[in-house]
Symmetry: C2
Subunit: 229 residues, 2 copies
């Protein structure tokens, strides 16, 4: 069964999905950093396949939303950047601050590009999400039309980072959001600058596609949709 | 022990690391798509934590390279885009074709942004890697200085995609690479365009930091370094 009849709001299911996401995030981190021998790696792989078999007895398809999601609340449990249930997600916790949004994150070896540094594409992945959340939070939701990233200095692994984003311009259906990555202990030295252009689809073609902001106002999720803050 | 004395080349260890990466990739995919009940999710989480405990008895730190890596060969087993050993990696298989590089990939629910579509940041993550590989392959390795992405049309999940990248310009230490994402069954309709600026560090400061290309010529890896072959 997909939902427990004694848990009509799905709170228990969401807690369990978050528990599994957290456990798998830890397993992935250990799998990437472990130095155990080949026999131990193979034993771990076999044990992982056993769990997979148990989870795979009932899978949703691409066209089914997760039972734990709540679009009206803007809750996307398996978002690959901010979703608690997705082991790939750092996960990025985004909150409103000042005239924009901010997130703190520390990235481990799973996200490594050059030795000891965050993969440049991972920085792009996080900033796409953060700019989109800032746009949605301001009630200016839209689809990402363009993303620009300037890599000023290397972004280190295993160091607390602070990510910021805010709206810098809005003209009609087009919104521009900008953001930065910096070390939490040196927030004024920008390591990376990001700029995103978001375009709200024309009402005629998208009345059913309203985007919820971080607080859950509005309709259908895009990249912007983070777990309800 | 980190390496098996009967396996001096580390081939068996690499095969085992790949096996674990593959198994965990499958587990993550099942974890994101499963619709089993809360009790089953919790049982899976507990079993995953048991495996984590066994792998975590010996972990490398940020400053230790993985025992299965081979920088001279350009082999980065845990790269988050192309690394077989990293469950986050799709994994993107890159090969030379014509005057550039090409990769085919089909992305599942783990990489979902808006419902049924690839997260915009995931497209950015993949293209950063592909542009860097094209640059390194051409012997023009450098650090990503700027990345630009134009999202022309939505990129669908569970549809075979073809990603291409090539060098478009080189002046001194600066190289510009461009690339695209398209459906494999409609390769001429561009869904996304990417452009990356890569800068080779000055020789005076980087003689020890030569970047290997995809075939393993040269020194130290950046995002560009994909698994050999």
């Amino acid at each position: 069964v997909d939902t427990d009849l004694t848990d009509p709001a799905g709170d228990d299911l969401l807690a369990a999905a978050t528990d599994l996401g957290t456990a798998l995030r830890g397993l992935v981190a250990a799998g990437v950093a472990t130095t155990v021998d080949a026999a131990e790696l193979r034993a771990a792989a076999a044990a992982a396949r056993e769990i997979t078999g148990r989870l795979a007895v009932s899978l949703r398809t691409r066209d089914q939303l997760p039972p734990v999601d709540d679009l009206a609340q803007g809750r996307r449990t398996y978002n690959p950047v901010g979703g608690d249930g997705n082991p790939l997600a750092p996960p990025l916790r985004v909150r409103a601050e000042g005239d924009g949004v901010v997130a703190e994150v520390t990235l481990g070896l799973v996200y490594e590009g050059p030795p000891t540094l965050v993969h440049g594409g991972v920085s792009a992945l996080m900033m796409d999400q953060l700019l989109a959340v800032a746009t949605a939070d301001a009630g200016l939701w839209g689809m990402t039309a363009r993303l620009e990233l300037d890599y000023r200095r290397p972004v280190p692994l295993e160091v607390p980072l602070v990510l910021r984003a805010r709206i810098s311009e809005n003209t009609g259906r087009k919104t521009i959001a900008t953001g930065t990555i910096a070390r939490a202990d040196d927030p004024d030295q920008t390591l990376l600058e990001a700029r995103g252009v978001f375009v709200t689809p024309r009402p005629a073609t998208s009345d059913a596609g309203r985007e919820p902001d971080r607080k859950g106002r509005g309709g259908q999720p895009t990249d912007a949709t983070a777990p309800a803050g």
